[in-house]
Amino acid sequence: MFKHILIPTDGTELSAESARAAIQFAKETKARVTGFYAAADVRHERQKFQRFLDTELELASELARRRKEAAERFLTSIETLAKAAEVPCQIKYVTTEHSVHEAIIDAATGNGCDLIFMATHGPFGIEGITAGSETKNVLSHCTIPVLVYRH
């Protein structure tokens, strides 16, 4: 029924678990997957805090660089898992000037995905809370089915 599953990741352990489950699910249902990571554009963040000092800007760029590195690591691990499970897989990294949930929905519709498989927030931790709110945002705004995964 679902042929192409979008797996958004935010690099948290929770999203990694959800990605593993999504790949298992794709294997069972003979679907393909797209691993996806959206990072907020640092220039956009700068606009949000207009009085960035130069040092802060440097820090922000450094942060963005590390974030991208980390994202690539997460996406590569999704790719490796998918390969091991013989699930066709592509990965996508984007920086977005808008919100992350919009980027996720755009990626799903733009790539022709028919299901978004994402983690819900865990009981603890700030990362969990942000992941959860992003899931909730996706749920409120998107028109394709979303599987809210829990371990």
Partner: protein, 149 residues
Amino acid sequence: MFKNILIPTDGSELSRKAIEAGIRFAADVGAKVTGVHVLDATQGVLMSEAVSHEALRRFEARTLEGRKAARDRLQEIEQAAAAADVPCETFSEEQITSVCDAILATARKAGCDAIFMASHGRSGAKAFFLGSETNAVIEHSKIPVLVFR
């Protein structure tokens, strides 16, 4: 991965579509389905008038009517499942506090490992945003929830 999928229904147009999709999904992954209807018999009966005989009669009439409607809706699930060769069990629940609680309790009771549910039920006409019961189920469920639109 999923062996027993809970499909709640309230008889709304979207939940009918969710039944159809949920059964297709179950057939696809080789799972069985558990249908549930939760009757909220208090709907439309104000607490302030619940003491009057007239309100009580209305409550009883609604309950009888509701049970019949629930039976019909669950039968729709049973028939659709049978047509798709998907094993099916159904539960008719009644509650007066929370529909979400009753849905989750049924999931536990029947040993479901996923919930397949429409983004809105009867109350909630907007295309975007989630229905309140769906939202509550996502919030409190311990098993994955597939939100269907």
